[in-house]
Each structure stands twice: as C-alpha cells, then as structure tokens.
C-alpha cells in the first residue's frame, strides 16, 4: 500500500503545472461556491431569525380562525396560571401574550394605517430583543400610557420623542377605539415592513384602547432549543381544545418566506451547478491526459505482474490526492473571507437599500460559516471526481497490454 501511495503521490507531480492548474480550478470553484452559499445561507438564516425572533416566535396559539382572519373580534382569554405553567417547562424560554390589530395613526396632516401591537414590554424583550432596537427615547413599561414607534413610521408622520400620536380604530365588537398617546421611544426594527408601520403599546393600554378586557389575539412562544419545537407544538395541540384554539408552528406562520427562500435557493443551486460543470470538464481533461499519456506505463506494469485492480487503485488515489489538495486549497482561501464577512456583514447602500426594503429584506448580506457548507461543497467535488474516475478505470480494465506496450 505504501508503494501504491508513493507512486500515486509522485505521479500527480509528474506534470507540476498541469496539477497546479487542476488544483487551482478546484480551489476557485470551491471558493466561489462556498462564499456564494455562505451568503445565501447567512441571508436565509437572517431572514428566518428576523421573522421568528422579531415577530412570530416558534409557536403561536390563537383563537381558531384568527390567522386567516386577523380580526379584533377573534380574541381569547387565557389563564395566567396556565401561562406560568407553560413557562416553567425548561424547553420554553418565554410565552408572550399579545394583542394585535390595526389602526389609523395620525399626527398633524399625516395619517397612515399602522399595526398596533399590545405587548408585555419586558417579556416581549426576552424574545424579540426589542429594547436593542431603541434608537431614541426610552423603553415602555406595562403601566405606561406611552407608545414606541417604528423609525420609518415616525419619519412619515413627522413625529419625535415626547410628541403625541393619535390612534383611531374599531375596537372589540365594533366599539370605537380612539386615543392620544405620548411617544416614548423610536425603534429601528429589522424587518422593513414592520419598521414602516408598527406601534407598540403596553398590553394593558392596548386592551383598554380596543376594549377587549383581558383578552389577547396571540400567545407567542420562544423556545430554548429549535429541536424541541415540533414536540412542544404537538403537546400543545393535544392539551388545547382544538375546537376553539389553533396552534401554529413557525414554518406555517412564515410559509411565504420559506417558499421565497426555496425558490431563491433553487436559483443559487443552478448557478453553482453550472460552475461545477465547468470544473468537472477541467478535471476530466486532466484525467484524460494523465491516463492516455501513461498507457504504455500501465501496460508495462500489468506485464510485469501488477494486477489491474492495484493499478486502478493507484489512479483512484491520484485523483483523491488531487481532489483533497483542491478542496483544502479552496477551504484555505475561502475561510478568512467568510470569517471576515461573518463579523462584518455587507451593508448595502444607495438605491439597493430601498429596493431590498420593498421586498421586505433587511438591506444587509450576512455570511454563514456553518461547517456543513464546506462539507457539502467538498462532497460535490468528491462526487465529480468519482464520476471522472470512471474513465481511467474503464481504460485500465479494457487495456490490451501488447498494443499498450507498442503505443
């Protein structure tokens, strides 16, 4: 085996320039594929994180039918003790009651339709880290009669800290909901759509405003571990009266986002596939040359007593060496760049920012350094090499030794 390894290793360096070109082609293919995939996976993860941790949570409980008809009349009362019991489950980080609806927000001459979100401020902060988005002013507490406004909405309404916001809406069972609220803080929210039209009130104020009593529109669950989501979701379903309530997981609540990610992912995969096709032909070219220029040598080795299977092993190991070198080189040049962009995500500027916000994307391009990305790309290169290996194997199996010696 040692001899076989030695022959294989030395063989790949017989033509240094060709070997280096082959390794370089694998290296650049891997570099582009890994970096491209890293940006894709990073962006998807950021989108999911924004959607889940900034808004939906991993699981929500609503009154049955609420998700399809987000109406202030589709609300429910939930036992506070039951919420405490749920929160004592080590798998659950926090259970957040919310009261959400819509209202017309007005200041001076400007008016806009907004999403009003009644929250337990400190609890909400445990999941959405809402405090960290505070740009100006102070955070609210549960007794405050003040509001927090999204940055772009505040700009649109030309409102600053300590100004007064007018909210007008339809309350529970058609009651008129109208109120003046002191603006205590301005938040820069990561989801552009939310940043354009969200107003946060304390849950008590929201319940007073919409005249709902102690009722909520949703209970959002933040989990300690993503792996527990499905189990907890199933347990909640079996515990809760399904005639009156609905339990929804994050995938169902963010269906459009996931569909968008899937279609974008498919586009990325096509790009990478084209890249790999080019590389596959490059590797094939090298292997064709490495095989055909050594037909006489192969014939001699078989003549003097080397079994074809051992010769095939030499050729396979040569290709494995080439692939490993290409993969390592690809990892080495992509890793520093990925680490850099992981800590310094690309922040878009100019017109792109508005275009991305219109599609509800945060205008940044984060990088993922998930090891799986490296493994997957390495596996693709290995598979290409495995396919390419077929040629020398066939050539050796069909080799006519006498003709080969004359070649």
């Amino acid at each position: 085996m040692k001899t076989i390894l030695k022959i294989a290793w030395r063989n790949i360096w017989r033509n240094k320039r060709r070997t280096l070109i082959t390794i370089a082609s694998m290296m650049f293919a891997l570099f582009f594929a890994i970096v491209m995939r890293g940006f894709q996976v990073g962006s998807y993860a950021k989108m999911k994180e924004n959607a889940i941790e900034s808004y939906s949570g991993y699981i929500q409980i609503h009154k049955k039918g609420y998700w399809d008809d987000k109406n202030i009349n589709n609300i429910f009362e939930f036992d506070q003790q039951k919420i405490k019991d749920l929160e004592s489950d080590p798998r659950i980080n926090v259970v957040i009651p919310r009261l959400e609806s819509f209202a017309l927000a007005s200041s001076g001459e400007a008016t806009k339709g907004v999403a009003v979100m009644g929250i337990f401020p400190e609890k909400e902060n445990k999941m959405t880290k809402i405090k960290s988005y505070l740009q100006e002013g102070d955070f609210i507490n549960v007794e405050d009669r003040s509001v927090l406004m999204a940055e772009e909405l505040a700009k649109f309404l030309n409102i600053n800290i300590n100004d007064t916001l007018v909210l007008f809406s339809s309350g529970y069972h058609g009651a008129t909901a109208a109120g003046l609220f002191h603006v205590k803080g301005i938040l820069k929210l990561p989801i552009p759509e939310m940043n354009r039209r969200t107003v946060y009130l304390s849950i008590t104020e929201a319940q007073n405003f919409f005249d709902t009593g102690n009722q909520f529109t949703a209970l959002a669950f933040d989990m300690n571990n993503l792996d527990d989501v499905n189990t907890v979701e199933q347990e909640l379903r079996s515990d809760i009266d399904q005639e009156n309530y609905e339990v929804m997981g994050w995938e169902l609540m963010n269906k459009e986002l996931l569909q968008m990610i899937e279609s974008d992912k498919a586009g990325g995969i096509i790009m990478i596939a084209i890249l790999y096709m080019v590389i596959a032909f490059g590797i094939l070219g090298t292997v064709l040359m490495m095989t055909n220029e050594r037909i006489r040598e192969f014939s001699m080795m078989i003549s003097i007593g080397m079994q074809k299977r051992k010769l095939i092993l030499v050729v396979i190991i040569e290709l494995i060496f080439l692939t490993i070198l290409g993969v390592i080189a690809g990892f080495i040049i992509s890793l520093p760049l990925m680490i850099y962009f992981y800590y310094n995500p690309i922040k878009f500027t100019g017109d792109v920012v508005e275009a991305m916000k219109d599609f509800n994307f945060e205008p940044i391009m984060p990088m993922s350094i998930d090891f799986q990305i490296f493994i997957n790309q390495a596996i693709v290169i290995m598979i290409i090499s495995l396919i390419v290996m077929y040629y020398p194997i066939l050539k050796i199996l069909k080799l006519n030794v006498v003709k080969g010696l004359k070649s």
Partner: protein, 228 residues
C-alpha cells in the same frame, strides 16, 4: 525437466483486412539456465512468440507449458500473478516506472510479491551492485543514460529470481559500449543465478553472445542451433 515447452503454437491476427499468420505451428523447448536468442527479420514473428511465452498474448492454437503448466488455460488475473512469480521482462524501451528511483524500480516486483523488507533491501543492493549501478540507487530513470536504465530493467527482471527472463530487443536502443556492458552483465547473471534468458533480437552482438540461436522466418523456426 524443461522450463518452457512450446507445442504447435500458432497466432493468426484476424483484425486485419487479410488474416496475418504471425506464428505458424512452432515447437520449442527451453531448459533451465539457457541463454537463447530468437532471431529473425522484422515481422518474422519473434516478438509474438515471446509475447505468447510470456502470457501477454493468447495463442490461436497450441500450448505454452511452464514447468508442466499450460499457461493458455489461465484467466487473465491468474496470468498476471503467473507472470509476477515466474517471468522477468526486459523491454526494448526500458519501461521503468518514471516516478521511482532505480532502487524502488528494482524493489517494485518484490513488493508486489510481499518480500520481507530486510531481504528485499539486501537483494536490491546486491543486484544493483552486480549490474554496476551500486552508486546510482537513488537516481530516477530520467537521471540515467539509456544503458543504465536498461541495466536497472535487467536488475528489476532478475531481482525476484523468476523462472526465466524474456527480453524483447533489449539492445535496440543502446550504443555499442552499453550493449556490450549489458550483454556481459546478463551473461554473468545467467551463470551466477542460473536463470533462463530468452531474447528476441536482430542484433548480431546479441546473437554472438547467445548460447543457443533460434532463427525464425514467416512465423516458423528455420533453424535451432546450440553453440558449444
């Protein structure tokens, strides 16, 4: 007992427009320790005979027996093992493994035969010494002259002590000095190791050195002369 017995051996190539009868029913026997040359003009069938004796080519009819075993009955895998354990080859174009040193080339067959390392080392150095290359053990083929490469090829063929050595035009690419050196070495090793050498050649210098000269023409043996 004869080492090799060739009986009524024929070879006809049918993949040409007109069938070519390269070997036409030859009978030959080689004894242990012979130093024999098969001579004849180009296309006379000498290389084909050598290839069939070495199991590189299948005969159309007839048999090649080595120590009583008909090698034409062996499968291709078994034939490779048979060659590994019984035959040493010396080719016209040296055919060393270019990425291995002289020592590694000589060791190659012994490694395939799983020789014990110390014995293999001893044998390699001894055989390289006897072909006059004791000082070039770590040279790669491209660092050696044609004559030196052919001497390494002879050392490689002899190292594992095969039953016989088949040398196809071994001096064709060598100058006179290298040819004489090589022939002297092969004759010496033939005596020392008592290994049968069979050459195919049209080089008169080889014919002069050979102890037995088999002339072939049109695929037939036209004379078989043992020198005294």
């Amino acid at each position: 007992m004869s080492v090799i017995k060739v009986s009524n051996l024929t070879k006809t190539y049918t993949d040409t427009e007109v069938p070519v009868h390269a070997v036409n029913g030859i009978d030959l026997t080689f004894e242990k320790g012979e130093f024999a040359a098969i001579v004849g003009p180009s296309g006379s069938g000498k290389t084909t005979i050598l290839n069939m004796i070495g199991g590189l080519e299948k005969s159309t009819s007839g048999t090649v027996e080595v120590h009583g075993q008909d090698i034409s009955e062996l499968s291709s895998g078994k034939l490779i093992d048979f060659r590994l354990n019984n035959i040493g080859f010396v080719f016209q174009a040296y055919n060393l493994i270019p990425v291995l040193t002289a020592k590694e080339n000589v060791e190659f067959i012994m490694q395939l035969q799983n020789w014990e390392k110390t014995k293999m080392n001893e044998r390699t150095f001894a055989i390289l010494e006897s072909v006059g290359l004791g000082n070039r053990v770590n040279s790669k083929p491209n660092q050696l002259s044609g004559g030196q490469q052919q001497r390494v090829a002879v050392a490689r063929a002899l190292a594992s002590k095969p039953q016989f050595i088949l040398a196809d035009e071994p001096t064709a690419n060598l100058d006179s000095k290298s040819t004489n050196q090589l022939l002297d070495i092969m004759e010496k090793l033939n005596k020392e190791e008592n290994i049968t050498f069979i050459f195919s050649t049209h080089d008169q210098r080889v014919v002069d050195k050979a102890h037995r000269v088999i002339k072939v023409d049109d695929g037939k043996v036209v004379s078989d002369e043992v020198k005294n």
